[in-house]
């Protein structure tokens, strides 16, 4: 049984990319582009500082190259220590169930936290997606603007805090932080489907994007989930806008 799936399933070579943009820099260009795991929701003031830093950084780069140099000299950048803090994940309980045997199950929505790639791989297997290289998956998660997850937490009565936490859903969005966002990889564990969890995931992602004034929200839906997204307010080929994909010529 397939999960609620959107496009993004190509396999490929397993190779760790060296990147210099908006992520943990492993190259010597660390000076220019600061690390920033871009998980959107929780850190409003911190994100504002980061984006202001980047804007001011741009100013300084520009002023060094413009012939009409009328921009001010950049002031000292804000303390980089702020960016190295671990972002606090935003979490809240979506559903809480008490089973007849006393076990309490909570479905927790979370964004901004880390996602275990092995857990994600297991989830992708459950919904029947082809496997993708783990390193690419990890890189994609790290560089996504927003990664939202659903976890199931099971607490037995009297087990004194021992809980079982399982990843049961995920959605991620890439974005330029300003105008465009694309939602990729929406999936929910088949045994948890049909409860409105996928709908909650997507709604939260859309809400988070719109709150940051990101207005072009797109996705590429498999044929069996087009109606699912239509019910969430997505329109197919709006005003004739279509997605085209690169067809490499070998």
């Amino acid at each position: 049984m397939l999960g609620i799936s959107t496009r993004g399933l190509k396999g490929g070579e397993c190779l760790c990319p060296i990147v210099s943009f908006g992520c943990q820099c492993q190259s010597s260009n660390q000076l220019l582009f600061s690390s920033n795991p871009n998980y959107g929701l929780s850190k409003t003031s911190r994100k504002l500082k980061v984006s202001r830093f980047k804007a001011r950084f741009w100013e300084s780069i520009r002023s060094g190259f413009l012939k009409n140099n009328s921009t001010q000299v950049m002031e000292a950048p804000p303390d980089l220590e702020e960016e190295e803090e671990e972002p606090m994940p935003e979490e809240f309980v979506l559903i809480e169930k008490t089973q007849p045997d006393g076990v309490i199950e909570q479905i927790i929505f979370s964004s901004g936290g880390d996602v275990n790639v092995y857990e994600l791989q297991t989830l992708c297997d459950k919904v029947g997606w082809p496997r993708r290289p783990l390193s690419k998956l990890a890189a994609a998660l790290k560089n996504s603007y927003l990664v939202a997850t659903l976890h199931s937490i099971r607490k037995s009565p009297g087990s004194e805090g021992n809980e079982q936490r399982t990843l049961i859903g995920m959605a991620r969005a890439t974005s330029d932080h300003a105008f465009n966002a694309t939602i990729w990889d929406v999936l929910v564990d088949p045994s948890y489907q049909g409860q409105g969890l996928g709908k909650a995931l997507v709604e939260k992602v859309v809400r988070a994007l719109l709150q940051k004034d990101i207005g072009n929200i797109s996705l590429f839906a498999d044929s069996q989930v087009v109606d699912f997204y239509r019910n969430l307010g997505f329109e197919p080929d709006p005003e004739g806008i279509k997605g085209m994909f690169w067809h490499p010529k070998y």
Binding site: G12, I61, T98, F179, N216, K242
Partner: protein
């Protein structure tokens, strides 16, 4: 002579970001002097610091392009009526994985392009020999891509000023973006395009999704019958409805 100019440029600007390229001019229209279409030097760069946001917003206006997918348009001539938000543009640029800019010092407005063919070759000699650079050239083309640098990428805002279109510059921009992406092993590359842009992207090697997916965009607008409790966000001419927060369900 063209070769000399290229090598001169290469020695002065050795960086891998920058390239001096030549494109063939259009050469249509009446021409008394009857010489061949001129080769125009352009400078293509993937260095984000070559971009002046003010110049870029001017290019948006010249190309009648908007960052919003559904911009506010004048009802008669369909020109984009919204101003470019420079701060937002800078934010978008700083979070785009690839940014391509094209410069030329021979760009002309449309009514001058027919005059250009009348000018003797010698008059342009100085301009042809001096290499065009971001500081002495005019921004005439642009394109960018957003990526998760692992699996996927999307291409946005490809544009070339009207007087230099149909010379292969747009295609060059796309190919440069593709080169940057594939060198990072990213092969799942999408481009959202309007009807007019479709032919262009087809010519660049894009086509329908082989997995048969449907492109969808969030387009839910507020309905008037629900009172004032809905939160909306403006995106161009659309007022998008923000999905409401739901409290936890207890079962």
């Amino acid at each position: 002579m063209g070769f000399l100019a290229a090598t001169a440029a290469a020695s002065v600007y050795p960086s891998a970001y920058m390239e001096l390229r030549w494109v063939r001019g259009r050469g249509k229209g009446k021409c008394e002097l009857n010489f061949k279409p001129s080769m125009i030097p352009i400078y293509i760069s993937t260095n984000p610091s070559d971009i002046n946001p003010q110049e870029l917003s001017q290019l948006f206006i010249s190309c009648n392009h908007s960052c919003n997918r559904f911009p506010i348009l004048d009802s008669r001539d369909r020109t984009v009526e919204e101003a470019v938000d420079i701060d937002k543009l800078c934010l978008a640029l700083s979070h785009s994985f690839v940014v391509v800019s094209v410069f030329s010092n021979l760009a002309l407005s449309d009514d001058e392009s027919s005059k250009r063919l009348m000018v003797p070759l010698l008059g342009n000699l100085a301009q042809r020999v001096v290499p065009v650079t971001p500081s002495n050239g005019q921004l005439v083309g642009f394109g960018r891509a957003v990526s998760d640098v692992g699996l996927t990428a999307s291409i946005h805002d490809i544009m070339v000023i009207p007087s230099l279109r149909q010379m292969g510059i747009g295609r060059m921009i796309v190919q440069r973006i593709l080169r940057m992406l594939t060198s990072r092993e990213i092969y799942d590359i999408a481009a959202l395009c309007s009807e007019e842009e479709r032919l262009f992207f087809e010519a660049c090697g894009f086509g329908n999704d082989i997995l048969g997916s449907t492109t969808m965009m969030y387009a839910k607008t507020a309905s008037t019958g629900f009172g004032g409790s809905q939160m909306v966000k403006r995106a161009g001419r659309k007022l998008l409805l923000v999905p409401p927060l739901r409290g936890p369900l207890h079962l």
